[in-house]
């Protein structure tokens, strides 16, 4: 079992050794890089990483450069999970045969795959489901920015109702996306995975705790990380953490974990709950909801978030 990295404060955390270079091509203000750095900074363990095709991939490994100071692989849009699972299987096979490279002596690498919501909720869902059913010892992190940002802002099955995207634009007769966001965390928990959690980069202590717990867990771990997208959510690049605060404090993006497919624990309860209206109002993608004909949707949104929060609390209480 690996040693848990002790982290006292944000200053120390932010200056700890970087495994992911800041010099990448992600947009200024992109939460992806904040999340990835927080995850990689949460452990001393050696890491074997993979990325799905998406913003993170195209911005961090443009030949002849790489932002990754760990072994890293990208195959396709849909199969980052299985690529990393394949590497994990190779580790197990070579370990059992006593044929690991000398550099593995006394070290236990952790296997992590990253994908956006497109790669996770949609195109790559089958592969992730397969990996979780087979119980690979790996972590899958979804960088959930609720849109196909890498291809220019098309809706995904993570896009929330009412968001204007390039394929579900708001217009004279449309308020934008009509479908509800898919409950990926619930679906992954239903696989019976030992550990599933929802995290946000602004709540870094909560995130580090969950990542460390994930790395201590044997078997597949699913992390859904809210990743505010300055480009597609349409907010100023220096507002990433402020928007993330609005998301977690309005409970649009509640922070919780589910162990062994059943035991749900809420890990963050905002002292001052913010109205959903504030979260929506801070982003260009929801701007049209404030027009008189669509304003009823803001109330619907609030109702939806309240019901979801109620549900999570009941689940936690019931502890089943």
């Amino acid at each position: 079992m690996s040693e848990i990295k002790k982290i006292k404060n944000l200053k120390e955390f932010s200056t700890s050794a970087d495994r992911f270079e800041g010099a990448n091509l992600l947009c200024p203000g992109c939460a992806h890089s904040i999340i990835v750095r927080e995850i990689l900074n949460a452990t001393h363990d050696p890491l074997i990483l993979g990325s799905a095709t998406g913003c993170l991939e195209v911005c961090t490994a443009v030949y002849p450069y790489t932002s990754w100071d760990n072994s890293w692989i990208h195959i396709g849009f849909e199969n980052a999970s299985t690529a990393v699972a394949g590497a994990e299987a190779m580790y197990k096979a070579r370990k059992r045969k006593g044929k690991l490279p000398a550099s593995c002596e006394g070290k236990t690498p952790k296997f992590v795959a990253f994908g956006g919501d497109g790669a996770t909720y949609d195109i790559g869902f089958q592969w992730i489901s397969g990996c979780f059913e087979r119980g690979h010892d790996m972590m899958y992190v979804c960088l959930d920015n609720e849109v196909y940002a890498n291809t220019g802002g098309q809706r995904s099955s993570s896009t929330p109702i009412g968001a204007s995207t390039v394929t579900t634009p708001a217009g004279r007769v449309s308020y934008g996306e009509k479908m509800m966001k898919k409950d990926i965390v619930g679906i992954m928990a239903a696989h019976g995975a030992p550990y599933v959690a929802q995290v946000a980069p602004n709540k870094w202590k909560d995130m580090v705790k969950k990542i460390q717990k994930g790395f201590q867990t044997e078997g597949p771990v699913f992390i859904n990380a809210m990743s505010a997208c300055t480009t597609e959510w349409k907010f100023a690049p220096d507002d990433t953490i402020a928007i993330s605060d609005l998301a977690t404090d309005s409970l649009v993006f509640p922070l919780y974990e589910i162990e062994n497919g059943t035991k749900l624990t809420i890990t963050y309860r905002p002292k001052n709950k913010v109205p959903v209206r504030d979260y929506l109002g801070a982003q260009g993608r929801f701007k049209h909801l404030f027009k008189p004909q669509y304003e009823y949707l803001i109330d619907e949104w609030q109702k939806m978030v309240d019901e979801r929060w109620e549900y999570l609390q009941r689940r936690e209480e019931a502890s089943v």
Partner: protein, 407 residues
């Protein structure tokens, strides 16, 4: 540690068992697989070897063929010996990842039990999948029977894993005709086979924690061309020599001689059939008969290596021939058959310009008979005498109903 299996000098194996025994003897580290007819028994046998202690690697039973090849790519990049098997639709589903495997230069072995591609759905053998893989950057070896399926699958590891080559290799055999027909196969002992293949030469392993590596980068227009050109250059300049070397080493060990392009009765042949798979043995049998009974100087030419295309060896094999029939076991879907195109392009560069015609046959497992081969040879004799085609350039053979021919 895996137990060794005691094998007889001659075993009665079908092509699938032959291939899975070769995989077992290679002591693969990771197999990620999804079953599909007719290659299913390859992984099924593998599961049984595992259950009985003859393998100590990881057997990852994934949820699709796309995932099978994805897992193989991740495992191979991690650093170790990797193989899987597939056919037809499974091959098509893998297609995206086949390019990734070769582009990352990962020496994976894929046993392809050739089968038609739907629609209409058909589980029987033709070469649609083999041809579909032709531009994927893999080395493609073709077995004509079960013995060869065993031999070539073993040799595939030695070719692909060579540090100078580092490319994935497909070992092809005909669906059902080879894969499900029990034949006498002479295996190597476990020790001999493992010694022949050797330990996996670990290169650029993701698991080497001291030396992190990046696989699957983005290149765009400033580097993509150089990478692809370099890979093509290596395929065209390094693979033929390596394949010859491995074939020679195998002959020394077993007495079984393989050539990049096989030639039967070709020393003085005036007419020749060029074919792949089990059809080669049928054509060879007919060529022998025609020589004995009618004095027709008939021969057979068969590429053992389909990719990279053995341009020089093929030119040499057909150098003295007057008429050639290229037999394609795949619907050309609006063109000449693949072999016809390859052979025609090659022979256009030759001083000798034989009359070349194209026969489409055996789609979806339709039998290719001795009578079909005899009919083709008799048309070739007429072509050779006339010095030009006496029949349409492309004909369908063995097809019910009105005769189909073009040009």
């Amino acid at each position: 540690m895996a137990e060794k299996m005691e094998l007889n000098e001659v075993e009665v194996w079908d092509g699938n068992m032959a291939a899975s025994q070769a995989l077992r003897q290679a002591q693969i580290d990771v197999v990620a697989a999804y079953p599909i007819t007719p290659s299913t028994p390859v992984v099924q046998n593998y599961g049984s070897f595992l259950a009985n202690g003859y393998i100590d690697g990881e057997f990852v039973m994934v949820e699709s063929e796309h995932a099978a090849m994805s897992g193989c790519v991740g495992a191979a990049a991690a650093g170790g010996r990797v193989a899987t098997a597939t056919s037809s639709q499974g091959f098509a589903l893998m297609a995206e990842v086949l390019y990734q495997a070769s582009g990352m230069r990962l020496p994976i072995v894929l046993v392809v039990v050739n089968r038609a591609l739907a629609a209409p759905l058909n589980v029987n053998g033709d070469h649609s999948d083999m041809y579909m893989g032709r531009d994927s950057g893999w080395i493609q070896l073709d077995a004509f029977n079960a013995q060869e399926a065993y031999d070539l699958t073993l040799m595939a590891f030695k070719i692909g894993e060579d540090p100078e080559i580092r490319l994935p290799v497909m070992s092809h055999q005909d669906g059902f005709i080879t894969s499900h027909t029990a034949e006498n196969v002479r295996p190597l002992s476990d020790d001999e086979a493992y010694e022949f293949i050797g330990e996996y030469p670990m290169v650029n392993a993701m698991l080497d924690l001291a030396k992190p590596v990046t696989y699957g980068v983005q290149t765009e227009e400033d580097w993509h061309f150089e990478h692809k050109a370099r890979q093509h250059h290596d395929l065209m300049t390094k693979v033929f020599g390596k394949v010859d070397e491995v074939f020679d080493a195998f002959e020394k060990k077993t007495g079984r001689k393989y050539n990049i392009v096989e030639k039967y009765d070709m020393d003085d042949a005036e007419v020749a059939i060029v074919a792949l798979g089990t059809t080669v043995d049928t054509a060879k049998y007919v060529a022998d008969n025609l020589r004995k009974t009618k004095g027709i100087k008939a021969g057979v030419v068969a590429p053992r290596l389909f990719r990279p295309w053995p341009h020089e060896q093929m030119m040499e094999a057909l150098s003295g021939v007057k008429a050639v029939a290229c037999l394609d076991r795949s619907s050309p879907n609006g063109a000449f058959g693949m072999l016809f195109n390859e052979v025609s392009a090659t022979m256009y560069q030759s001083d000798n310009h034989p009359v070349i015609t194209n026969y489409i046959y055996g789609l979806g497992g339709r039998d290719f008979t001795v009578e079909h081969a005899e009919e083709i040879y008799s048309e070739l004799v007429a072509n050779a005498e006339a010095g030009k085609p006496t029949t349409p350039l492309q004909q369908f053979i063995g097809l019910r109903g009105p005769k189909l021919s073009f040009y």
